[in-house]
């Protein structure tokens, strides 16, 4: 489309661009503030409050939080859960989505209905908790992965993506003697890279961000993933909540230290985000619109 050259058109464009720029800025400012704050000294923090770029650089906060292995352990737990969880989820999702994408599968409408229904109605927190407990998963990392292994939403996106792959390809592979598993792994999946990238990102982010399952199912604080630890350091240890239970002689963690922990917990997402960003916008659109 061509740019509107009338006066009103130009005013409109100018206002529009300015507003969007402000919105984008407001969205990222809190992150910048936290990153900047984590790289400066507490003294500097106390003097210059509105920091967006550190004038005095310091790694004290990071030295402090990495002085014990607590953060390393929690990061390790989160990385492990994210890696195994994403792999497991993608495998289950791709298998089920492919089966359901095949028009010659009897009963697929019924199964799809059962899947969609879980998006509208659920047993809720407590019955799910009891099932997980009955399965003996309390205090096991399995509790963070298995009960959340398929997202109905992701499954539907994946199925829709598979359905848009020309059936002729699968047919000719079949005539050439390819089994159903062979078709999925050698033909369909290699053609579905945008969807795979997108959904892997969705799953990975969900696993990385796991908080509720961790506080529900893990009693052992040595098994905590980074999100639970972050919460503990930022809010609870500062004496804000349940203040009576806390020892008031221990000073609350310094602002810069809290900021450093936030940055560490955010970093893995920030690292993969730029590489996958192009894919996911495309992938999410492909699946969602043609539902």
């Amino acid at each position: 489309m061509v740019e509107d050259r009338t006066v009103s058109g130009r005013v409109f464009a100018a206002v529009n661009y300015t507003l969007l720029a402000i919105i984008a800025l407001v969205t990222v400012l809190p992150f910048l503030h936290v990153v900047a704050g984590s790289f400066t000294t507490s003294a500097e923090m106390a003097v210059k409050k509105f920091i967006l770029f550190p004038t005095v650089w310091s790694f004290d906060a990071y030295k402090f939080i990495f002085s014990t292995n607590t953060i390393f352990r929690a990061m390790g737990v989160s990385v492990g859960i994210t890696a195994f969880g994403t792999l497991f989820s993608m495998l289950l999702t791709a298998l089920m989505a492919y089966g359901l994408s095949r028009r010659d599968l009897d009963g697929r409408r019924g199964i799809m209905f059962l899947v969609v229904f879980t998006m509208l109605f659920s047993g809720g927190l407590i019955p799910t908790f009891l099932v997980v407990r009955e399965l003996g998963m309390i205090d096991s990392y399995l509790a963070l992965i298995v009960p959340a292994s398929i997202s109905a939403f992701n499954l539907i996106i994946m199925r829709n993506f598979f359905q848009n792959i020309p059936e002729g390809l699968e047919e000719s592979a079949k005539i050439d003697g390819c089994s159903d598993f062979g078709i999925l792994f050698r033909i369909v999946l290699p053609l579905s890279m945008p969807a795979i990238a997108t959904l892997s990102l969705f799953y990975a982010v969900t696993y990385w961000n796991t908080y509720l399952s961790a506080i529900l199912y893990l009693n052992d604080s040595l098994k905590w993933p980074i999100q639970v630890l972050l919460r503990q350091i930022v809010v609870l240890a500062s004496g804000m909540d349940y203040s009576s239970d806390l020892d008031s002689t221990v000073p609350p963690p310094d602002q810069t230290i809290k900021m450093a922990v936030i940055v560490v917990a955010t970093l893995p997402i920030l690292l993969v985000y730029p590489f996958l960003q192009k894919h996911f916008a495309k992938g999410a659109m492909l699946g969602s619109i043609k539902g």
Binding site: D4, A24, V34, K49, V116, S122, G124, D180, W208, I262
Partner: protein, 353 residues
């Protein structure tokens, strides 16, 4: 239901298929490929049902590996979605963990009666509905507005850059969002309070106050989700025929008129679908978010159904009572979706199902 039993029967059959895997599959009868076959049955519409049970059996057998593929997923949905749904029946019991489901006493509607007579419950329901209302009123229109604004951007680089920045918070956990909010809003050294002090205002204890809980909540919701929420609208807008704009310009329509008469009507059905889904989520306000913002000082306004269920069950051991509350919530959500969907269909829209 039939599908499940057939899967079981397939699993129970002694299978020689490991041998046949990788070898040429026998062609369907009459030399048709199964694609043609599927196309043919689709044309016949009513004839989609198998003419004889032997044909159905043959088709099931031919697709046995597909059933093997979907089996783990089906087991997942049964174990973690449908078993908990049946687990809702403990709302009608006095569930005691050590007696289990079978051993616990049935008490009928006792917990539901308690629910409606408990003064606390009305407060929690009000809190929940207020947050829901704020979501609809303040959050829901923003992604639509943003998508419309973004659609008017002609500089591709600007558009990409903007999207990259505003999608980002969606990928942060609630713990991170609330933590960032915490370090910014805290009384000791938070940037917002320092700014207020610098400008000569009094510091505000945002985190512990009852008045500031709801604004904090909704601002964080908007911050995290508004950008990401545009994706689906942008996709819908992208499918609008450019000729429509061309024609409108010929007729002398300005930018805003084009938005009003072309873009908005084009994404109307998407807006309605998302609205229905949002209404179904009535009571799904994000347990984590509210739970993380909740503390002993703002409990009066911040306690919602989800957080109450969690506290009542896991800290006070009232499994049955809190399941009854959760049941009530899920049920209301389902009823509202059905109603909203009916309404949308009556208005000539597609609806979600």
């Amino acid at each position: 239901m039939m599908s499940r039993t057939t899967i079981v029967s397939i699993m129970l059959r002694p299978s020689s298929s490991l041998v046949t895997q990788g070898q040429p599959q026998p062609l369907p009868r009459k030399g048709r490929t199964s694609m043609q076959h599927a196309a043919a049955t689709e044309i016949k519409q009513g004839a989609a049902k198998p003419r004889s049970s032997s044909e159905l059996k043959r088709r099931l057998w031919r697709n046995k590996w597909l059933y093997v593929m979907i089996l783990p997923g089906i087991l997942y949905f049964i174990a973690f979605k449908y078993v908990p749904m049946f687990g809702l029946t403990i709302a009608f019991q006095d569930y005691k963990p050590h007696w289990g489901f079978a051993g616990s006493e049935w008490v009928g509607l006792k917990h539901f009666e308690r629910l409606f007579t408990e003064p606390d419950f009305m407060k929690i329901l009000t809190n929940t509905l207020l947050l829901f209302g704020m979501n609809l009123l303040f959050y829901f229109p923003i992604p639509i507005l943003l998508a419309l604004m973004l659609n008017e951007v002609r500089i591709t680089f600007f558009k990409r850059f903007f999207q990259t920045l505003v999608y980002l918070p969606h990928f942060m956990s609630w713990v991170i969002i609330v933590s960032i909010g915490f370090v910014m809003l805290t009384m000791d050294g938070g940037i917002i309070n320092e700014m207020l002090a610098y400008l000569g205002f009094e510091k505000i204890n945002f985190l512990l106050s009852t008045e500031w809980f709801r604004p904090t909540y909704i601002i964080q919701v908007i911050w995290r989700e508004a950008g990401w929420g545009t994706i689906i609208y942008l996709a819908a807008i992208a499918s609008v025929d450019p000729q429509l704009y061309e024609a409108a310009r010929m007729d002398g329509a300005g930018r805003l008129r084009q938005v009003w008469h072309i873009t908005l009507p084009a994404i109307r059905s998407v807006i309605i679908i998302l609205l229905i889904l949002k209404i179904g989520d009535v009571l799904e306000l994000g347990f984590e978010h509210v739970y993380l913002l909740l503390n002993s000082m703002n409990r009066d306004v911040a306690e919602i159904i989800d957080t109450y269920v969690y506290t009542a069950a896991l800290q006070q051991g009232q499994f049955s009572y809190s399941t009854a509350i959760g049941f009530f919530k899920s049920f209301i959500g389902l009823v509202l979706v059905v109603l909203a969907n009916k309404l949308a269909k009556r208005m000539g829209e597609e609806g979600v199902y």
